[in-house]
């Protein structure tokens, strides 16, 4: 086999292997990346995969049981339409979790009880690394 053929075969093998891995990876491990409104629109179809949703925790809706590590709260879609959904989460409560914070949750939608069962909860405070001092000054 001459060198060009060798290379061609090698390249083909590599490309096929990588793309196969990518596709099988996405098929089994890919999750939908959604807004609250999108989840509520068609949860049945979306439940076939995991979902990752981001939204803002609504003030006054948090029920927190620190001892049992159980959180129930409502989140609202900030950017699109303002859809609201209840989230039920059991697990480690992040240090930064509080009202009006931006959260990213992952899990599935419980259609019967109309709430999102979250397996993971990440807090993403817009002010995590960057705080606007003018806003802060206005508040304080």
């Amino acid at each position: 086999m001459n060198k060009n053929k060798k290379f061609l075969v090698a390249t083909a093998v590599v490309v096929i292997a990588i793309s196969f891995m990518l596709f099988s990876g996405f098929k089994s491990e890919g999750v939908y990346y959604l807004t609250v409104g999108e989840v509520l629109h068609n949860p049945e179809k979306l439940n076939q995969k995991g979902m990752r949703v981001s939204g803002e925790v609504i003030a006054g809706t948090i029920t927190k049981n620190t001892k049992e590590r159980h959180l129930v709260f409502d989140i609202v879609d900030v950017e699109e339409g303002g859809a609201v959904m209840t989230v039920d989460y059991k697990g480690i409560i992040p240090d930064t979790f509080k009202e009006e914070i931006h959260v990213i949750i992952e899990g599935n939608y419980d259609i019967e009880n109309k709430k999102f069962i979250a397996k993971t909860l990440l807090t993403k405070c817009p002010s995590k690394y960057e705080v606007d001092p003018e806003e802060e000054a206005a508040k304080g």
Binding site: N2, K3, K6, A10, V14, A17, I18, M21, L22, G25, F26, S28, E29, G30, V31, Y32, Y33, L34, E38, L46, G50, R52, S54, T66, K67, R69, I92, D95, T96, F97, K98, I104, E106, L122, T123, K124, P126, K128, Y129, E130, V131, D132, P133, E134, E136, A137
Partner: protein
């Protein structure tokens, strides 16, 4: 402060004139401008540091990241904590590198030298444009606040002092070899001169990138309180991507230098690494991808995209116009099983790993774009993303193969196919690998993936040791001192496999548990008995902490008392968990004070056991020592 604004703006003007240094005649003038630029950036940096130290809150940046109560070390580290400051820091590093190169190359061909400095000064000027016009660290507020907002408690960790600078050194460092690569093309020199010239830089860059990434992992481990060190977060991936291609580049460059092969690979990998550094910064700063680490959304994205596209196109044009220089004249005697063949395969493995991680990281963008285009044809879908299991799954096969080649490649010979002697030499490795797998299996660790991983890791380790042993036997122990490059490289590989053991053990066999007990009570965790004491309150410089002492006993013998705590920083409403870690060579015990209530009289403690975790840090240390060892060899030989 206004003066700083002017110097900052002034420095960015120099880039236009600095570009002239490409021309032979302007070499000297370019040099003066470079010095002026360096002086201006240094002054600007000093002023920013001074403002941070003296808490001049009139400057927005200072008010954003510091407050009066912040300890001095963190006030200083705020220089690179924020967006504007870190970009200035990057520019500062670049010009300092440029000065080093200017001195080092003073006797070189002036066209070559000018091209190197041209590349560096264009890059540094790019960052200066950003800091002057997009996100100025000296921007002033319309009023002077009484106190600053303060630094995020997560950033108040010694990690803040050393992790970002090492990573930025790594990021910025790629620019210098890139400058050399371009210089070699500009001068029409297809020889390995540029690789030799920039080898020290490449290794320096790689070491700092490695340290930076591992320190980041270590920081996450001690600060974030979930017992892990790597979560495939976009920001972490952003630092890993250039490391992967950078590693491939180092290997390619070796073949380029010694065998005059893989030249186009070497050039491409270097450029890819450079672009990925910029891309990483773009990902994390532009807000295009949601990450818990991300900085706020900003208008920086477009600038980065333009810079990446322009520099890639420019590089591609230069490379293709010189492509004849790099065609391999002896293409025919190339065997996949020769040492350079294995390096070639390794390149593909690194590249493949980079691609799957890159695609995973940018999946939300890719799927969005895909459905945006397909939407025209009526195909509708939702934005997709992937998480930790995806990355673990797709990267594992690459890690298995990379580990395998890390052990086998040093055994193969240049220019020859492997033969009987090769198989003979790897026998001890194969035996050790099988033995390790049997022992693991018998001990009850029967999961297939860690078994395979342990097998290839042991094969590599044993093979490298065999290699060294044979060589010492044949040439005497002195060979380790004389051929430093080779043995340094082998040492790096040993570090890699040691790290691999730590990663395999801690990712597949960690144990997590949590208990809620009353103070004074105890619970069992594996062989350990944990006794939880009374809650205690402590006052720190800018926080109040509550901790619960936990006394660990193993088989009735008291081992240690640790104190996981929660801190309340003055400016923040939330309580921040500070974990307590008890490290031993065979594994780490990791404690988190998860919850507590004085009135209800309970304390919740989470314990994680991470087997062999320390070896991750040790392995990294060995890698760095090995890498530095190769560089000392180079100087001596030259």
């Amino acid at each position: 402060m206004l003066l700083a604004l002017i110097t900052g703006a002034g420095a960015s003007y120099f880039y236009l004139t600095g570009m002239r240094s490409e021309n032979k005649i302007y070499d000297k003038i370019g040099g003066y401008f470079l010095i002026a630029q360096t002086a201006a950036i240094s002054v600007a940096s000093l002023i920013l540091l001074l403002a941070l130290v003296t808490s001049n809150f009139k400057i927005e940046y200072v008010a954003q990241y510091t407050d009066l109560a912040l300890p001095m070390a963190y006030k200083l580290s705020a220089f690179w904590a924020g967006q504007a400051g870190s970009l200035l820091f990057w520019a500062l590093l670049l010009v300092l590198f440029a000065i080093v190169e200017m001195v080092r190359l003073r006797n070189s061909d002036s066209r070559y030298k000018s091209s190197v400095l041209f590349v560096i000064s264009v890059s540094s000027s790019f960052f200066l444009i950003l800091t002057c016009f997009v996100t100025n660290p000296f921007a002033e507020l319309g009023f002077t606040p009484q106190d600053g907002v303060g630094m995020n408690p997560l950033l108040q960790n010694p990690g803040m002092i050393y992790h970002p600078p090492t990573l930025f050194l790594g990021y910025a460092g790629f620019t210098v070899p890139l400058g050399h690569a371009i210089a070699s093309m500009m001068t029409g020199d297809g020889s390995n001169l540029w690789v030799k010239e920039s080898r020290g830089w490449a290794i320096f860059t790689w070491v700092f990138l490695t340290i930076g990434i591992v320190l980041g992992g270590q920081w996450a481990y001690v600060e974030l309180g979930w017992g892990g060190y790597w979560a495939w977060d976009p920001v972490e991936n952003a630092s890993l991507l250039p490391w992967i291609t950078g590693t491939a580049y180092l290997h390619s460059a070796l073949i380029y230098e010694q065998r005059n092969k893989l030249k186009i690979w070497t050039h491409t990998l270097l450029m890819t690494s450079f672009i990925l550094c910029i891309f990483g910064t773009f990902l994390t700063r532009s807000g295009v991808i949601d990450s818990v680490h991300s900085f706020g959304k900003s208008s920086l994205g477009a600038f980065f995209v333009v810079f990446m596209i322009v520099s890639t196109i420019a590089y591609a044009i230069v490379l293709f116009s010189n492509i004849k220089l790099y065609k391999d004249p002896e293409e025919k005697d190339f065997h996949f099983s020769s040492r350079e063949g294995m390096f070639f395969i390794a390149n593909w493995l690194f590249l493949g790993l980079m691609v799957v991680v890159l695609v995973g990281t940018t999946m939300p963008l890719i799927s969005q774009a895909y459905y945006a285009v397909m939407g025209v044809f009526g195909v509708v879908g939702n934005k997709l993303t992937v998480n930790i299991p995806y990355f673990n799954k797709v990267s594992t096969p690459f890690f298995i193969l990379i580990l395998l080649f890390a052990g086998l490649a040093p055994m193969a010979q240049y220019g020859k196919e492997i033969g009987e002697s090769f198989y003979k030499k790897i026998i001890p490795g194969v035996i050790a690998a099988l033995a390790s797998m049997v022992i693991m299996y018998v001990k009850g660790y029967t999961l297939p993936i860690p078994l395979i991983l342990t097998g290839v890791t042991t094969l590599s380790l044993a093979t490298i040791i065999t290699r060294i042993a044979i060589s010492i036997k044949n040439n005497g122990p002195k060979v380790v001192l004389t051929q430093r490059r080779h043995y340094g490289g082998l040492l790096v590989h040993i570090g890699v496999v040691i790290m691999a053991y730590g990663i395999i053990a801690s990712s597949f066999y960690n144990i997590k548990d949590e208990h809620v007990v009353a103070p004074g009570e105890s619970f069992t965790f594996g062989n350990y008995e944990m006794q939880v004491g009374e809650l205690t309150v402590n006052q720190g410089q800018n926080f109040t902490s509550v901790y619960a002492p936990v006394t660990v006993t193993e088989n009735g013998k008291k081992i240690v008392t640790v104190a996981p705590e929660r801190r309340f920083y003055e400016k923040r409403e939330e309580a921040w968990a500070e974990v307590a870690i008890y490290s031993k060579l065979k594994g780490d015990l990791y404690f988190i004070l998860a919850s507590y209530s004085k009135p209800e009289n309970y304390i919740g403690i989470q314990v994680v056991y991470e087997p062999l975790l320390v070896w991750l840090w040790i392995g990294c240390g060995i890698m760095c020592i090995g890498a530095f060892y190769t560089v000392t060899g180079r100087r001596k030989n030259a």
